[in-house]
Symmetry: C2
């Protein structure tokens, strides 16, 4: 039988729990977790297809209707701003988007940061929105990784980054001075599929929310 519901699963921190939640509903994509796995697509009876994609790409596949359902962090949803329907908070994968500075920084609150200071981040849209709302003009430095290096080298006064245990910040002598928002895994759906009369999809979304 051909798959008629496609689910986009995020690589990385949320993958394991996502697969466990789906397994509880009889949808088995555990092969994605095998260390040797190179497959990006898997079928699971009855009639489900899983796509293993970068977390940032999950809302893209859902917005374009290539997946009717996706699981992704709220941080990614806020950063990408794509037209997807947010169905439910799945209450796992807790982390927070924070402003952090060097422990010995002269700026120990966000209000202390001087106008036109430099802020490095992988989440440029989230950071831009936050500082715009605060009314503080900052120069954003977009980075792809190891954002904690920027204040250590003196390239930026602060960073905006996702913090889960806080270990990376601590190891690098950085401290959080503000939480912009908290993030958890979210269940999202393609808006059109969601509004159409698609009993299997509605059933899946309901079970994913209630079986928690």
């Amino acid at each position: 039988m051909d798959a008629h519901i496609t689910i986009a699963l995020p690589k990385g921190a949320l993958l394991k729990e996502t697969i466990i939640r789906l397994q509880a509903l009889g949808i088995d994509f555990s092969e994605f977790l095998e260390s040797q796995n190179r497959l990006l697509r898997l079928q699971s009876a009855p009639g489900y297809q899983g796509l293993l994609v970068r977390a940032q790409d999950v809302p893209v596949y859902v917005a374009y209707g290539q997946a009717q359902v996706g699981i992704v962090g709220y941080d990614v949803l806020l950063e990408k701003q794509l037209p997807v329907a947010q169905i439910a908070d799945l209450n796992f994968g807790y982390c927070r988007m924070s402003v952090a500075v060097k422990r010995d920084s002269p700026y120990q609150t966000v209000r202390d940061l001087p106008p036109h200071c430099r802020v490095a981040s992988k989440f440029v849209a989230c950071a831009r929105r936050y500082f715009d709302e605060l009314g503080l003009p900052v120069e954003l430095i977009p980075l792809y990784g190891s954002v904690e290096l920027a204040p250590l080298l003196g390239m930026s006064e602060a960073i905006v980054d996702l913090v889960s245990s806080g270990r990376t910040l601590k190891d690098n002598g950085l401290v959080e001075i503000h939480t912009i928002f908290e993030s958890t895994a979210r269940l999202i759906a393609h808006p059109l599929s969601y509004r159409l009369n698609h009993p299997e999809l509605h059933d899946l979304l309901t079970r994913l929310q209630t079986d928690i």
Copy 2:
């Protein structure tokens, strides 16, 4: 002695050869290659500091003057368009930026692609520039990874992606229909440092070019 020249090294495909080239000049950052390595900064006698950063971040560190020298792929330079001085082609890390489609696609040349077709890419700026010059309006779908999945699922008619062996394309039933440009590792420098009278920096840049 404090380091007075900082070199930004790219994680990924170009790292090993970059470290070999520097080693030939007596600058040893081989610790970055150890599988257990978690360090992002290393010192090497005499007076050199290495920063291990994402390839996409190398031009950022150099543009902001946190590193006077960097090694990075030409593809990244074209995508990021930052104010750095390109010093030399280091002639390793060959790959090409290509347009690819499904083997059985009705579009077997770039000229066949219909206006407003969808093109998925991690290199949105390069793709945008190419199709603008071609005079073909396309809808770009920005992805972070596994771009080859997009045509397979029917999300895009074509992709623009970096190809080295061609293995990933072949494994996914895709074929290249156009090479946009060829890429190799480039030696870059901070424009101001480069223009200043900085004998050690000029010496390093000269030796990196000639010891090939």
